[in-house]
């Protein structure tokens, strides 16, 4: 009836999942114990948690099986895990590895049965302890491979390792993780996608998914880069916006002389005054994501309409 990962957990009548976990001696943090604070968040990997145990979660979290054990009275069998458990590592084979810009590569790998939503991220494992998170720009229904856009750092361990890889080489992937994907968006809602550097990868995945699902509302994509080379999908996105009237691509080259700072965040904040009803996706460095999230929230965007993924550089 109830399993925590591989372990069977006894669930007594009328007992919540949180109570059962605690009785079984499984370390499960909690605070309000009434379905509000989300401290006890877990994820169902098999079975469907009752809707009452998902109140207040984002549509993305609900779609991935996240739920609140403190208010969960299961009506059908559930297998659950901690929210940050990315699951087992899987074999992957490099299909292609090529430059997109002087310091950005596109990596495509083949991995069997890797289900994901475009915009989520995976853990790439090169050897033993060398692992990094990368967002997925591919689409599971269109692409037989997983595509990542990876910024190379001069002295980064993973960057150096990636420099040695060639097609046919083996590595591992785990995941996916993240809730920055197209879910809980109305087809006529305005879509605002803002990213810098390789923050474009998940946004590109989200954009393709939105178009594939027949999104009708206007879509505006801002991509920020420090140099022209960094606008690494410029031609493709320009071509796309020419053929799709509702797609508006706005490349933003860093302009240090601009009055408001001249980066993509400043540009977007200046142009996007009315964001109340927009579905917003923010991807890039932590400062960019935090600034935009706060400012758009203060301008009236609801937190449930702001999805984000902040990248932490680790080479």
């Amino acid at each position: 009836m109830l399993k925590f990962e591989d372990r069977s957990v006894e669930l007594r009548p009328g007992e919540t999942v949180l109570e059962a976990l605690e009785r079984a001696g499984i370390d499960a943090p909690s605070s309000c114990r009434s379905g509000n604070c989300q401290t006890c968040l877990h994820r169902a990997v098999e079975g469907v948690p009752p809707p009452d145990s998902q109140v207040g979660l984002t549509q993305g979290q609900k779609a991935l099986g996240f739920f609140l054990p403190c208010v969960c009275l299961p009506t059908s069998p559930l297998t659950i895990t901690r929210p940050d458990n990315v699951g087992a590592r899987r074999d992957a084979v490099i299909r292609a590895i090529e430059p997109l810009a002087p310091d950005v590569i596109r990596l495509r790998v083949d991995a069997d049965d890797f289900a994901y939503r475009p915009g989520q991220f995976l853990e790439l494992v090169a050897d033993g302890d060398l692992r990094r998170h990368y967002s997925l720009a591919s689409h599971p229904e269109d692409d037989p491979f997983l595509e990542m856009h990876i910024r190379l750092h001069e002295n980064g361990r993973m960057s150096r390792r990636l420099g040695e890889f060639k097609p046919g080489d083996r590595l591992h992937v785990a995941g996916p993780s993240g809730t920055c994907f197209y879910e809980g968006v109305h087809e006529e809602q305005r879509l605002l996608l803002i990213g810098a550097g390789t923050g474009l990868a998940p946004l590109y995945g989200v954009l393709r998914d939105a178009l594939k699902r027949g999104h009708l509302g206007p879509i505006r994509l801002y991509h920020g880069a420090r140099s022209r080379d960094g606008l690494y999908l410029d031609e493709e996105l320009k071509a796309l916006s020419r053929t799709r009237a509702h797609v508006d691509y706005r490349p933003c080259l860093l302009d240090p002389n601009a009055p408001a700072g001249g980066d993509v965040a400043a540009t977007a904040l200046h142009a996007e005054q009315d964001v109340k009803d927009s579905a917003i996706f923010l991807c890039g460095g932590e400062n960019l994501v935090k600034r935009l999230k706060r400012d758009f929230f203060m301008r009236g965007a609801s937190m449930k309409n702001i999805r984000s993924d902040a990248f932490t550089p680790s080479g």
Partner: protein, 121 residues
């Protein structure tokens, strides 16, 4: 007479108030610094559970939870004036939503009841 939480409108009232309240708090120069660097997605859930408690709704908070949650902030200088500011913002939020003064006072009294735990005294 129904209880306070029901009179306010229950969960719907909390949902209507939470973002309004959080915006006021973030815009208040007296207390905004305590929210620097905080994950906004996690914080909105915490604000929601604070409002549920203050509205007289279901919660199982213990004094220890309140103490632990605010220990770090007390070390950074959180004091009575900041609790006053939070309750003030809560009052403004409820008035914006058209809640009668009687209920505004009841909510403020519940929020005030956890003051000593929040300030770890």
């Amino acid at each position: 007479m129904s209880n306070l939480y029901e009179r306010l409108g229950g969960e719907n009232a909390v949902n209507a108030a939470v973002e309004l309240f959080y915006r006021k708090v973030l815009a208040d120069g007296r207390i905004a610094q305590f929210f620097d660097g905080v994950d906004m997605d996690q914080q909105i859930a915490k604000q929601k559970s604070f409002l549920t408690m203050a509205f007289g709704g279901p919660n199982n908070y213990t004094g220890a939870d309140m103490r632990n949650a605010h220990k770090r902030l007390v070390a950074k200088g959180l004091n009575d004036s900041h609790v006053d500011a939070v309750i003030e913002n809560l009052n403004y939020t409820l008035r914006d939503l058209g809640v009668p003064e009687k209920e505004v006072k009841e909510v403020a009294a519940i929020a005030n009841s956890v003051r000593d735990d929040v300030l770890n005294r």
